[in-house]
Symmetry: C3
Subunit: 255 residues, 3 copies
């Protein structure tokens, strides 16, 4: 039976995620539920977009990935479902799919307008329970994507910067700052050489190391992170704090 994963910003101590899981199991009793996190910073669609990219492809084909970071709930943003590389995404059309879609060859999607597949009374504040959960369960049950509503030509994408490459210089951005203050950039690890120098927040860093243990505790280190891009970290510490940087800040690498 397909897996259904759940990513939300509903917080760690309420019953909202449990409500979604109950709705899913009532419709798809054999679905395997997997919690990703319910602690995405509240309303931070861009953080959700990054985290979603970390795991979507690693699940079996047919997996249904729910991602509900939805500050516009009850407004005019559309609830949608996408098929990307044999997995399904069920989420608000607010850009949270941006990084998954950018990494995929193609996608198809629908607007979730077919009310027969939703809960009878849809609240204006909790589409996770009333729209996204029942649709995810029906997808897990094998209902065809096209049944949930009209096809989409476009979806909303976050306006993210992209790294620029020249022979001796790459200019990229901090794409994500993780829970520990590691700076994950969008610079592909194979765009730079191990000997290159990096500049971030007026600090110069030399050379790409293999892992955190290649420097002393408290020291800055540049390495290729687990998503394949350049990461700037402090061993046993927070690079974000030590450097005073924010998501979106520039990182420049030079030969």
């Amino acid at each position: 039976m397909p897996t259904v994963t759940l990513l939300t910003d509903f917080g760690p101590r309420e019953g909202f995620a449990a409500a979604m899981k109950g709705v899913i199991l009532s419709i798809a009793p054999d679905a395997d539920l997997v919690d990703v996190t319910h602690d995405i910073p509240r309303g931070d669609v861009e953080a959700g977009a990054w985290v979603l990219r970390q795991y979507v492809d690693l699940y079996p084909p047919g997996t249904v990935h729910l991602a509900v970071v939805d500050p516009g709930v009850g407004g005019d943003r559309r609830p949608i479902a996408l098929a990307v590389a044999d997995r399904f995404l069920v989420l608000p059309d607010n850009g949270i799919a941006t990084r998954v879609v950018a990494a995929a060859a193609s996608w198809r999607g629908v607007e979730l307008s077919e009310t027969a597949y939703l809960r009878p009374a849809v609240s204006a504040t909790f589409h996770g329970r009333d729209i996204f959960a029942p649709v995810a369960a029906q997808l897990a049950n094998g209902v065809e994507l096209e049944r949930f509503g009209p096809p989409l030509d476009t979806i909303r994408l976050l306006d993210l910067p992209t790294p620029r490459r020249q022979p001796a210089e790459v200019r990229g951005y901090i794409a994500h700052i993780d829970y520990f203050g590691n700076l994950i950039t969008d610079i592909p690890g194979d765009w730079v050489e191990p000997s290159w120098r990096f500049r971030v927040a007026d600090r110069q860093l030399s050379g790409v190391k293999r892992s955190y243990v290649d420097v002393e505790a408290g020291e800055l280190v540049v390495l290729v992170g687990s998503m394949g891009t350049i990461e700037i970290a402090v061993r046993d510490g927070s690079a974000a704090e030590q450097l005073g940087v924010a998501r979106g800040d520039t990182v420049v690498a030079r030969s």
Copy 2:
């Protein structure tokens, strides 16, 4: 195989909940475990009672709901199990079932005194592992409720205020303050008209909106929340902080 859900206040980083889950799977290997939260504020039975109500009814008939917020563990409060609307609740008799029971037509219950169904050595501090988990697992296995001990005539209920309704005025209470500082009242949404005014903490608020997006960021909004009652929120902020209110404070609505 039935689902067993777990709500506790054991905190996010200890092995207590995992111990309960191991006990359940050792007795009911095919049970589907669902984490609700393990981060209810420590010992806050009233918060547990609210959160429990958010999801209990949404699960399939036969589901076993564990709820262990149990500041009186090892004292004279009884461990109990209830059957409510085709679902089971396994919990301490300290009022945590109050809101679920209040919403149900009827219930039956037993005291968990039949030691054959408990762990051989019951500790005085961890009934979650030694009493509640094995009983939940046996219920998931289909053991009849009546087997676990003598029937209950009464259970302990929290002494919660109830909202009062007059033609042009409703007086209710803040029943729950959620993780984000939203004030969830006990005033049914259909007791008031969209045009009514609300008073809370000497602030006047006008009109019931549909969702958070109907006001600007940082502004107060009154809406009908996902449980069907009046909610007072701040878009992208904390109403509890902005208004300086606490659970139990009065909210008055007037035509």
Copy 3:
């Protein structure tokens, strides 16, 4: 199908644990996944070792327990798998198995060097996804432990103090401070009598109580905790804060 449990220090809001779960389900689609916690204090192998001991034995034989608190990832610590009392442990060889192994009659183990069982490209910073998860999934699928690499003669054990017993005095240590500030010592509850006195941080405490409710809120209490050892707690408060103690501090019990 066997259960696979996950304990990590990856934090509550990233996609690392979800990535591990995707890898497991792609290899062992019928595995039952159980989250223990992903919020062990970062890099705190000793805390991980304590928490792991709380639940490992309570799971059915054949369960695979993943425990990835791995500050030395990418360095020369070995990735290993152990068989202990009919359960499997998959973890870095950094001492995190210490308390489980100390409580067991015997163990056997292997170094995870057989690359056929790992992900094709092993990153230097995320062995959870690339080494530990696929091995755990293969163990759940029934692959023999010996297939993953050469047998181990020794593993790394934390250099933990051990309690010392005399007829009228026991000297032990604070082995763990839990999320709520309870002090869990390594003194077996049956080494002392209920009438004994306890000294910790120059405070004298008299007598072993049954549970937290045997003292008033805010008061210190000595009891036998859920793991069978002496615990010092403050009812509805933090003993660690009230006493200003740290893990490893001495506790002396006298008749």
